[in-house]
């Protein structure tokens, strides 16, 4: 099987609404078992991107394929599971009826339906309310149901548009764990969220969407390295009299400098050389990398070089 015959491939997608470009050459490839978190501010184009990826919206240019099938191909929809951003459940049907009803649309019927519905109810800790009408569920329970309805048919590609919005802590954890287990079973998952902790918990790759363009794409570590920064601190003994040169500044016994997230060791080596050359000794070293949040904020600001502000660093 070639790479194109499995996973999700969204190639250079463009979309305009009227004269306003919403997506410009947006491209993401997700292999089976991989979770990609699509991050970006409100209005970045995430929901439009998901609508195109699921075949709900036709792009002006570019293409989409899931397991080698384009959205126009028979069988495409059966491969896709999608929980749109807005909750979509039948309020007067019970939780179990909602799941079974949507399962039947995907050909999951009879005994297989009962087994699968029970699995999902259990995985999302909804056993106690399985026969309760959806309009009598709590917000978090309804959100879990909404997500579960996308999973009944074990889709090869899963698109979840902010599945944890308005969900409580426990619901979020259940949803994230279930999504991870589906990926472990081989699903390719595109997951949009504003909760960056979920990205790390999912072990997801990240794609940053801003102004309709994918600004960066990669593993969490790689993105932090590119867009985050590292704070390098050296505790020194001796040589205190010399004037430190930028980017270093002295804070008591510590020299502190902020490095590009990709190579903090270079600044460290420079610092050690400088201290040694001025008669001092480095007795302690502390390097702290940025969080995904810092990288995200820098990407949103449009920064293109790491220059300042590693977070959470003690001097």
């Amino acid at each position: 099987m070639s790479a194109r015959e499995s996973g999700v491939h969204i190639d250079r997608v463009r979309k305009r609404f009227g004269s306003r470009p919403v997506l410009t050459d947006a491209e993401i490839h997700i292999e089976p078992g991989q979770v990609t978190a699509l991050l970006g501010p409100n209005g970045a184009g995430k929901t439009t991107f998901v609508a195109i990826a699921t075949g709900r919206l036709r792009p002006d240019a570019g293409g989409v394929s899931v397991a080698g099938l384009s959205p126009d191909a028979p069988g495409f929809a059966a491969l896709v599971g999608c929980a749109p951003q807005d909750t979509g459940v039948y309020p007067t049907l019970t939780l179990r009826e909602n799941l079974a009803g949507f399962g039947a649309l995907y050909g999951v019927r009879g005994g297989a339906s009962r087994v699968r519905v029970d699995e999902l109810i259990s995985a999302l800790d909804l056993d106690a309310v399985a026969d309760r009408r959806a309009d009598r569920l709590s917000g978090g329970q309804r959100r879990r149901l909404h997500t579960a309805m996308a999973l009944v048919h074990r889709p090869a590609a899963l698109f979840l548009d902010e599945p944890t919005v308005a969900a409580d802590v426990s619901s979020r954890a259940r949803i994230v764990d279930l999504v991870r287990s589906l990926a472990d079973d081989g699903a390719a998952v595109l997951y949009t969220t504003h909760h960056l902790d979920e990205v790390e918990r999912l072990g997801a790759d990240v794609a940053f969407l801003r102004g309709g363009r994918i600004r960066d794409l990669g593993t969490v570590d790689a993105v932090i390295a590119r867009w985050g920064s590292a704070r390098v601190a050296l505790r020194t003994v001796g040589g205190e009299a010399y004037q430190v040169s930028p980017p270093w500044r002295r804070t008591g016994e510590w020299l502190v400098g902020v490095a590009d997230g990709t190579d903090p060791g270079r600044l460290l080596a420079r610092g050690i050389d400088e201290v040694t050359a001025n008669g001092g000794r480095v007795v302690e070293v502390d390097i702290r990398r940025s969080s995904l949040e810092t990288a995200y904020l820098r990407l949103l600001d449009g920064a293109d070089t790491a220059s300042e502000g590693a977070d959470g660093v003690a001097a």
């Binding site: 929809a77 749109p84 807005d86 979509g88 459940v89 049907l93 050909g107």
Partner: protein, 253 residues
Amino acid sequence: MLRRSLAVAAIDARILRRDPAPILVMIVIPLLFVPFLLPGASAQLAATGHAGASGAQYAVPGLAVLFAMLCVQQIVVAFHRDMQSGTWERLRISPAGLPSLLAGKALAAFVAQLLQLGVVLGGGVVLFGYRPAGSWMGIAVVGFAFSLVMVAFGVLVVGAFATQDQALAVCSIVAMLMAGLGGAFGPVAALPEALRAVAPVSPAFWALDALSALSLDGAGLHDILASVAVLFAFAGAFAVGAVVAFSRRGRWS
């Protein structure tokens, strides 16, 4: 496609079973109206050459047809309920394409229409002595054809109008107009000439023409085939219109 349409129909049927009030209203109200209309219907029948006929022979089918037309509102509500609850988007993402979705929702609505018409006519038999002089099979065929027309009309209205309020308003106005033209409020023969001339544009005219023949004149199935054919033609035309309306790029696409 059939299995997916059945899956969609099963969801709508379950929702209706959970809350049957909209259909029950369309069954109970016409049966409540019958005793009030019986004397007038008897007089109208006598004036049109059916002296001695029970008013039920006219009032029951007339009210059944009128409220079958009003029952179209539940089709509008069924579609907009999906739009409002966010399930329409989910249905559109599912493997059930638009034709399967429309067929499934129409099927559930069709069963509800048949049920409404059947129970009102059956209630007329039990409660008011409605006894058609002609073929019961003919009545069933007219009921089937007229329910098809109403469902196709309902889906057309949903597709053609942007909001639920607009669609419901159009349904109510058109239902009353069609019912009046068709003779649900009194024999077409008693209408002003201008209205008599345009009465055949109403599907209710053909349904009540056939039902009157079956109820009052002892007509058989073969006698009403022309009216039934016209009803099927209406159903076909409305269905084509519905497909065109839904195919346009818009909120339902």
